[in-house]
């Protein structure tokens, strides 16, 4: 296995694309009038019901292979639903209502944000089949708003946005504890949320860093435009990865951008290993027909009660199932993930004889097999299977039908190994590894929705939407970077905290310096938030206005906030008056100055001009702070110079 931490992506021919799924802010679901409310506890329900799904024949009288695999899983799908956020539409008991105009509009605005040139001038709702139960109809309603856009990357590069879609979000999988279980659970609360899917051209990204940056650019647009819904789970990414000689593998449902680098590396390593296994199989002269669907009952060798044990021999495969394809995961286990998901036989109940080698990877994997096969048992098995020295056998245990089903899937998968990397959709695990989820769905399994007539979006409307696009995030960055030398991180915070508009208003309309505006809108509220206090936008605006009108100076901001926190009942104006009213008298100021000045050698200050300047600035600062900025700095500085000149220091008076 390649070292995941030391990869030459260019040499490996790494290519990636990303699909960003982000919920859209709106008042209702896309195809019904239910409100967008998620249950705090996804297992909340007022009622539940269950369904089975089956694929629909294609025009040629056959099934999509991807759909057939889904059907093979034989899931019973149980839905949890609450009355306040779910109606008979989500239950697939009522045809769709007209799609939400707000979500449609936002879909077109987003397409304009991403510089799309080709808009869907007539919106056609399509159906995209899913049999995993995540959508009660068995298909997702989805449509294109725009195509052929782009987002920029550093060094004047562009990543093409091939499509911007609007679609209904799927139901939430809940209670997902046992991947082998044939019963799956979903909460219907999320089903139907308007969602956008933004897809990049998978040829344009060649490193994990660029992938991450593209994801961020897309995220910035959703945030900056105010179109993206916030909150946990509102954004999910699917990433397509391939290397030279490999094939497109989709890694689904990535919520945490921090994992990007890791899983990219783990997938590259996996594809590379699968290619090596393929090459080795060809080198050994292995053919697909070498693998027979012969399942031998060896239950009598084990004491598993009701459970049956079946075995199949894989000629010439010695050592290959034991190849590490991802950290702490061998090829055998990678296959067992799939046979488990489809047949329902836990991977722990699936075993390959490469595991018997010393230091076998399987033993340190997350899912070592539960078989205890000692020498004696091995000999017993061999006496029945009669494997040659270069053969491997695989064993599965469980109810007869399922155990055979698992072996059948394993034989099919091993045959596919001769073709290298199979196109799959895979689930990301916290350790950066992935496991089989489903065969990649054919794009031809998309067909128009007969329930919703096409909707004309007039050119006037599209132009109107284009005009609603403000500065794009990369334009904002260029602007603020050139004006104030702001970093991307700084700009990101303005976008994330939704303060950009206010920032521009303060700097452009109110004449406040960019750095001060940034401190007011970002640093200060964040400092206060860390202390557990929220600073309202309303207050920030009032402070901004007061500064702009020179009623308040920057240094008094914290004072205002302190007083507001202490006296929440007081109005901003009252607090301002209070601060203004604490005027320190000339005597008091003198007292403050003298108390600081006492630390200096006055005589030398008198003659040393440079030192004097430094001291004056420093002392003025201290006194300003001590006096709550109630007097002007200029007055204090002059007073300091004056006192130095006078050269006499009286002991500061004790104040009573």
């Amino acid at each position: 296995m390649l070292d995941p931490n030391n990869l030459n992506f260019e040499k490996l021919g790494f290519q990636a694309g990303i699909e960003v799924h982000h919920q859209i802010k709106s008042k209702r679901k896309l195809f019904c009038h239910c409100p967008l409310i998620l249950e705090d506890d996804p297992e909340n329900m007022d009622y539940s019901f269950y369904r089975y799904f089956r694929p629909v024949l294609g025009e040629m009288g056959d099934f999509d292979p991807g759909m057939l695999v889904e059907f093979e899983k034989g899931y019973k799908v149980i839905y949890y639903a609450c009355e306040h956020n779910t109606c008979t539409y989500e239950m697939d008991e009522t045809p769709p209502f007209s799609p939400d105009p707000e979500a449609i509009m936002k879909g077109y605005i987003l397409a304009a944000y991403f510089n799309c040139t080709a808009f869907a001038e007539e919106l056609v709702v399509n159906r995209k089949q899913y049999l995993d139960g995540s959508i009660t109809t068995g298909f997702q309603r989805t449509f294109i708003s725009g195509r052929d856009g782009w987002v920029p990357l550093a060094n004047d590069r562009k990543v093409r946005i091939s499509n911007v879609y609007i679609e209904e979000d799927a139901a939430r999988r809940v209670n997902w504890t046992d991947t082998a279980s044939r019963t799956v659970y979903f909460n219907l609360d999320r089903l139907g949320f308007p969602l956008t899917e933004i897809i990049t051209d998978h040829l344009d990204i060649n490193t994990p860093e660029d992938l991450l940056e593209v994801a961020k650019q897309i995220g910035r647009v959703l945030r900056l435009s105010g179109i993206g819904r916030r909150g946990s789970g509102s954004a999910r990414q699917d990433v397509n990865i391939s290397i030279s000689g490999g094939d497109r593998v989709e890694i689904k449902g990535v919520q945490d951008l921090k994992l990007f680098d890791k899983f990219c590396r783990h997938e590259v390593v996996r594809q590379h290993a699968l290619i090596e296994i393929k090459d080795e199989m060809h080198k050994r002269g292995i053919k697909k027909e070498d693998f027979q669907h012969t399942y031998i009952d060896i239950s009598h060798l084990f004491e598993f009660g009701e459970k049956k044990v079946f075995a199949t021999v894989f000629p010439n495969m010695k050592g290959l199932f034991g190849v590490e394809v991802q950290p702490n995961k061998d090829f055998g286990l990678d296959i067992f993930d799939k046979s488990m998901l489809i047949s329902g036989i836990h991977r722990e109940n699936q075993f390959h004889s490469d595991e018997l080698e010393a230091n076998a990877v399987r033993k340190r994997s997350k899912y070592p097999s539960s078989f205890n096969i000692n020498d004696e048992k091995y000999q017993q098995i061999c006496s029945i299977l009669k494997p040659k020295s270069n053969d491997v056998f695989i064993i599965t245990a469980g109810p007869e039908r399922k155990a055979i089903h698992a072996l059948k899937k394993i034989v099919e998968r091993v045959k596919m190994a001769l073709d290298g990397v199979p196109q799959e959709t895979r689930r990301l695990l916290p350790d950066g590894n992935t496991e089989f989820l489903r065969v990649i769905h054919g794009k031809e399994r998309i067909y128009p929705d007969t329930d919703t007539p096409p909707i004309v979006i007039s050119l006037e409307k599209i132009n109107e939407y284009k005009k609603m696009v403000g500065k794009r995030p990369w334009e904002v960055f260029d602007d603020l970077n050139s004006k104030y030398n702001f970093t991307q991180n700084k700009v990101d915070l303005l976008i994330r905290d939704e303060q950009l508009k206010r920032f521009y208003s303060l700097t452009e309309n109110r004449g406040i310096n960019g750095h001060l505006a940034y401190r007011l809108l970002i640093n200060i509220p964040r400092e206060w938030r860390r202390k557990g206090l929220e600073v309202s936008n309303e207050l920030l605006e009032k402070i901004g206005n007061a500064i702009s009108e020179k009623i308040l100076i920057a240094q008094q901001i914290n004072n205002v906030l302190n007083k507001t926190a202490e006296n929440p009942e007081k109005s901003f104006e009252e607090i301002l008056d209070e601060i203004k009213s604490v005027k320190h008298s000339d005597e008091e100021i003198e007292e403050f100055i003298l108390s600081f000045l006492s630390k200096y050698n006055l005589e030398s200050l008198k003659i040393d001009e440079i030192n004097q300047k430094i001291a004056v600035t420093k002392i003025t600062g201290f006194v300003l702070e001590k006096s709550n900025y109630s007097r002007e700095g200029k007055y204090i500085a002059e007073k300091v110079i004056d006192l130095i000149k006078r050269g006499s220091i009286n002991e500061p008076k004790q104040r009573s």
Binding site: R54, T117, R147, V456
Partner: protein
């Protein structure tokens, strides 16, 4: 699609332009407009859509529409015609399995999808049906036959006759049961008519369809047909029944007597309900549970009679406050032979209608009254109004549902127009369309505030 129809579905100027520029449906085209470029297959255009747009299927499989104006350049860069050929599947006849015929009338329990156009094609050849629902072939020897391919609202009384004749033919050829694939909208009407036509029915006749379209992976169609095959092939009963989902889950189906059954929701799977009574039984993966004791068992084929004499000059009037009696008058004028009248409450109509009722009486046109509340009996002796109506010759329709009364009157009038005989026949139950008793469970219109409705029904 015919060649001269190409480009299919396009109209007006755009059509002329496409023809002029040699662009056909299934042309692969490049469309340029300002700085936008679209590439995809030109799809047929569906009816009732805007004239100036073309529909493209783009590389992702999605469809979208583009406005074609003077600034638009369309260029054909290829052509990709669909090739429709179904794979051949041998369906094996198994000696040990019962023989069931599926007569299709247009309701689809399984479909093929044309992913390119989005068209839904009923899966109806044995090959298609067994491909779509492979489990069927291990339950029964199913022979699908197409009678009609119509939407159920386009049924007419002579279609019921032809359907009944086809059923009779199947029964006489030894079918152990017959399934009728039917659109759900008027399934109960057809069902009621068949129940009258098929006298001494020897085998089960099961009407079935899909309430959620068969082009969706969540369709109820597959389970409905599987349960129907089970019922028609194995169960010991011989009535015309409707077999559809009992709840929203894929949990159990209810078996309804066609004459007592009504569609009660426009779209839900469990739309069919037996009114004024409980269903005959339920079927789930464990088998059949019969709730009613009066289910008619299978009988010898020798006793079977087909009686399809009908008179379709029958109409239904729905009384409402303010109804102008000219509606009933015009039925007399138009030469109707019988009227089913849906009256308020216990079966009343306003006094304004009396003169028109008198005309019907004079002309010996039977007016059969049924109740607007759908459940419960007609009773024209309680109030003065009712007695006035009886005096004007109105025939009480018991607790017949409107669909059952309508089909029955058509059937009865096919046999006699003697008003007394019509009255006698209309008031004599022949297929469970009138019950003499209604027990407490005949009115189970749960209102959604009861806990576990589904459980109650499931565990009846």
């Amino acid at each position: 699609m015919s060649q001269n129809n190409d480009p299919e579905g396009y109209r007006g100027e755009l059509r002329e332009r496409l023809i002029r520029e040699n662009i056909r449906t299934w042309s692969k085209v490049k469309v340029k407009k300002d700085n936008a470029t679209y590439e995809g297959l030109l799809l047929p255009r569906s009816v009732h859509t805007d004239d100036d747009y073309i529909t493209l299927k783009v590389d992702t499989g999605y469809n979208l529409g583009i406005l074609v104006n003077d600034a638009t350049i369309i260029e054909e860069i290829g052509y990709q015609k669909g090739n429709y050929k179904l794979p051949h599947i041998d369906v094996e006849f198994k000696e040990e399995l019962p023989n069931v015929t599926l007569l299709g009338t247009g309701g689809t329990v399984a479909s093929r999808l044309d992913y390119r156009t989005g068209a839904v094609i009923p899966a109806f050849t044995p090959e298609e049906l067994f491909s779509a629902v492979p489990e069927l072939s291990s339950i029964v020897n199913l022979t699908p036959k197409t009678l009609y391919e119509i939407l159920s609202e386009n049924f007419r009384p002579d279609y019921w006759v032809k359907t009944a004749e086809s059923i009779a033919k199947e029964i006489e050829s030894g079918a152990d049961g017959v399934i009728i694939g039917h659109g759900t909208d008027t399934m109960c009407v057809t069902g009621a008519a068949l129940a009258y036509f098929l006298r001494n029915l020897p085998v089960p006749v099961v009407l079935v369809g899909s309430q959620r379209s068969s082009d969706r992976p969540s369709s109820d169609g597959a389970r409905n047909i599987l349960y129907s095959a089970q019922l028609a092939g194995y169960e010991n009963f011989a009535e015309v029944v409707i077999n559809m989902h009992g709840g929203t889950s894929d949990s159990y189906n209810l078996i309804h007597r066609a004459t007592r059954c009504r569609k009660m929701h426009s779209s839900r799977r469990d739309t069919f309900r037996t009114l004024s009574d409980i269903p005959l039984g339920k079927i789930d993966d464990e088998g059949v549970t019969w709730f009613k004791k009066d289910v008619k068992p299978r009988t010898p084929v020798e006793d079977f009679q087909l009686d399809v004499k009908i008179d379709d000059r029958v109409g239904i009037l729905y009384f409402y406050p303010g109804q102008n009696p000219d509606m009933l008058d015009s039925m007399v004028d138009m030469g109707y032979h019988g009227v089913v009248f849906i009256g308020t409450g216990l079966g009343h109509v306003g006094t304004d209608v009396y003169p028109a009722l008198e005309r019907c009486q004079e002309e010996e046109i039977p007016v059969v009254m049924v109740v607007e509340p759908l459940t419960g009996f007609i009773q024209l002796r309680v109030y003065e109004t009712g007695r006035d109506m009886l005096a004007r010759g109105v025939i009480e329709g018991g607790n017949m549902l409107p669909s059952a009364a309508y089909t029955k009157l058509i059937w009865v009038l096919g046999h006699t127009r003697d008003i007394n005989e019509v009255e006698r026949l209309m008031q004599t139950p022949v297929a469970g369309e009138i019950t003499y008793r209604e027990t407490v469970r005949g009115f189970m219109h749960l209102q959604g505030i009861e806990h576990g409705i589904d459980e109650i029904l499931k565990n009846l």
